[in-house]
């Protein structure tokens, strides 16, 4: 074995190479595959048509989330309620049929364990450190928070993984994003990743796998690391990683699909060996001082369009790059904002707390801490809190968080992707704004004409109470 120092990414990559061709493309073994209803039907159909089988069904886990409505799924008698939209119903029916037909474990829409794929994977202990994890969804990067090499794939690749348990890949370049120091009050994992994307740009990570390093990430909980890694793709990186450590092991121990007994000890020993070696080289390094990060919001239609909550809507002329100037003007037209306007003066009519970025228990606690004893402002028309999974929902209810949300004027929903993307009935009306804890502020993402401001859960709660974008630090005194 060579003793060249290696990065975490290189170690995971090397451990999964089945073979490498002369042109540098490798056949990479895939340890875990998550499947949902939207990007899988065509893959199963193609398998069926070519008479191919699923190579290792036990390495795939299927759960519906994207277009499942977040309203009640069973009636008072416990009978399953039909899904009104015929196309959504058809897609769910397809997954429900495909999973058993191909021998894949399926979590039903009405099961306690159901939830957003990227919440379910870690929660069930299915997503493990050092594993290669894929899913037909770009936010698969999320599982990097567990110390896994996780990335989104298209439907043809879903089919490729089902049939062969491998993918043909080229090694990415590696980027280190280092944040050391102490985060200020009110600054959360979401603010950290929004700030990072502002620094590197929406295409800055293209071709790279990012490793998040430094004391800020070391001190984070798993929930927070999942939030950070989740949005790696918004910075263009297909995957983001945080090295597994004691926090990771403590989180995983005892979860349903986590190793147990002697397996556990062997697994932990391997996981410990994965950390980037001293002296290992990254292709690019970005260093950020934790003290520079403020509670952050987006003003435009790209996740790189970030500004501290105390800031103002930027003027298109303020950008050096001419194409960015044009893009900024378009964003402002779409968002209905004028340069120089204080972000805190931007009125908000809709609040969405949820999505695979921010729907875990800590996210709900952070929002509830602000909402406790307060009510949403009169101009906030619609506010929903959507737990990431049935288990998160149960936990939140056990802690009484549901009451806090409901008393504040929120709707308390069943788990799913909800208003993160306009596929299910939860949509933001055209021309209205939403303070959203999701990950994409693209044109039309939350519904045709919808205007999205990405924020942390605490900031979404603050906006709900204020009726406009607001600084969470004014609520915590």
């Amino acid at each position: 074995m060579s003793h060249t120092p290696r990065t975490l990414y290189e170690k995971i990559w090397d451990a999964h190479v089945v073979e490498t061709r002369d042109d540098g493309t490798s056949l990479i073994y895939i340890d875990r595959h998550l499947v949902h209803e939207v990007t899988s039907p065509q893959a199963f159909e193609a398998l069926r048509m070519s008479g191919r089988k699923v190579r290792r069904p036990e390495l795939t886990l299927a759960v519906p989330d994207h277009n499942l409505p977040t309203t009640a799924r069973v009636d008072a008698a416990g009978n399953r309620l039909p899904i009104a939209d015929p196309e959504s119903a058809q897609q769910l029916a397809a997954l429900e049929r495909n999973a058993p037909e191909f021998g894949i474990h399926y979590i039903d829409a009405t099961a306690r364990q159901q939830g957003i794929v990227h919440v379910v994977g870690p929660e069930q202990g299915f997503s493990l450190p050092g594993a290669t994890i894929v899913c037909g969804d770009s936010h698969t990067a999320c599982h990097g928070g567990m110390g896994a090499l996780a990335f989104g794939i298209g439907t043809s690749e879903v089919e490729h993984v089902l049939a062969t348990q491998t993918l043909q890949l080229k090694r990415s370049k590696s980027m280190e994003v280092r944040v050391d120091g102490d985060l200020g009050p009110g600054v959360t994992a979401k603010d950290v990743i929004l700030h990072i994307i502002g620094v590197i740009g929406a295409a800055g990570g293209t071709g790279y796998v990012i490793e998040y390093r430094g004391s800020v990430f070391e001190n984070m909980s798993i929930e927070e690391r999942l939030t950070v890694c989740n949005m790696s793709i918004e910075g263009g990186a297909r995957a983001g990683l945080v090295a597994p450590d004691e926090t990771t092991f403590a989180y995983l121990k005892g979860r349903p699909y986590a190793p147990n007994g002697a397996d556990w000890d062997a697994a932990v020993a391997w996981w410990r060996s994965l950390a980037t070696d001293p002296g290992a080289q990254f292709d690019r390094s970005v260093v950020i001082d934790a003290a520079d990060i403020q509670p952050t919001v987006t003003w435009g239609t790209s996740p790189e369009d970030v500004v501290p909550i105390g800031g103002v809507v930027p003027a298109p002329e303020s950008f050096a790059d001419p194409s960015k100037r044009i893009a900024a003007q378009k964003s402002l037209d779409y968002m209905g904002l004028t340069p120089g306007m204080a972000m805190q003066d931007v009125p908000i009519e809709n609040i969405f707390i949820g999505s695979c970025t921010n729907s875990r228990i800590e996210d709900l606690r952070a929002a509830a801490a602000i909402l406790k004893g307060r009510k949403k402002a009169a101009n906030v028309r619609w506010a929903i809190a959507v737990p990431g999974s049935g288990l998160v929902k149960e936990q939140a209810e056990a802690e009484g968080l549901d009451r806090i949300f409901i008393d504040a004027g929120f709707e308390w929903r069943e788990p799913g992707c909800s208003a993160c993307l306009a596929m299910n009935p939860d949509k933001v009306p055209a021309g209205e704004r939403c303070a959203s804890t999701s990950n994409r502020n693209f044109v039309g993402r939350q519904g045709p004409g919808a205007r999205t401001h990405l924020v942390s859960p605490a900031m979404a709660a603050a906006a709900a109470v204020a009726g406009h974008l607001a600084d969470v630090r004014d609520f915590t005194a």
């Binding site: 073994y29 959504s88 299915f126 298209g154 043809s156 295409a203 556990w264 045709p448």
Partner: protein, 200 residues
């Protein structure tokens, strides 16, 4: 898969940057369980605006699209590639592409050609009036005006495209190597091999 050797024809001179997959095909079109018919939803929000490039009769039916940096960023939806194909677009030229999109495009026989911004700017100009020619074998983009821009492409992708090879079929031929890896893995890291079959 059909063989892909290149593409000659008119091009939509769009040039827009950061065109994300929600713009290429909005989420409400993703409820289909088929790959067909998504052209109707392609660039829906763009096409809803008067004077948009896709309704400009000078370009209608063009097989090539010229875009700006970071084309196809956002979601992993392969529906974006299917929508382009259904609209008749078989090649996209841009200064950069999102990694996932270019993989999806390749798997559907769509050429993604990366050229530096100045050359893309030149092609945007030419495409206003004239045809553009992409030659995969020689890895060049040419115009009727002596422009000749070489581009890079992954050799494996090029080989698959030129010969119409099915990637899954190719990988399945590597079964011995995959089985060998799995055997080794089952011994050294049995917990990874268990998946949902872990004994409670």
């Amino acid at each position: 898969m059909d063989k892909v050797t290149g593409m000659d024809g008119r091009a939509y001179p769009w040039g827009a940057k950061n065109i994300d997959t929600d713009v290429i095909i909005p989420a409400h079109w993703l409820k289909t369980i088929s790959r067909e018919g998504l052209g109707r939803g392609a660039f829906e929000t763009v096409r809803a605006q008067d004077g948009n490039i896709f309704d400009d009769e000078r370009y209608s039916g063009s097989p090539i699209l010229i875009a700006g940096d970071n084309f196809g960023c956002g979601s992993s939806r392969e529906h974006a590639a299917w929508a382009l194909l259904d609209l008749g677009i078989k090649a996209v030229i841009a200064p950069s592409f999102s990694d996932i999109f270019s993989g999806n495009a390749f798997k559907n026989g769509i050429l993604t050609v990366v050229l530096p911004q100045e050359q893309v700017d030149r092609l945007l100009e030419v495409a206003q009036t004239d045809e553009i020619s992409i030659d995969l074998e020689n890895q060049t983009v040419t115009t009727p005006f002596q422009d000749r821009f070489p581009f890079e492409i992954d050799p494996f992708r090029k080989h698959c495209l030129l010969n119409g090879l099915d990637e899954i079929g190719l990988t399945l031929e590597r079964d011995t190597a995959i089985a060998g890896y799995e055997g080794n893995r089952a011994e050294t890291m049995p917990w990874l091999a268990k998946g949902t079959e872990v004994a409670a």
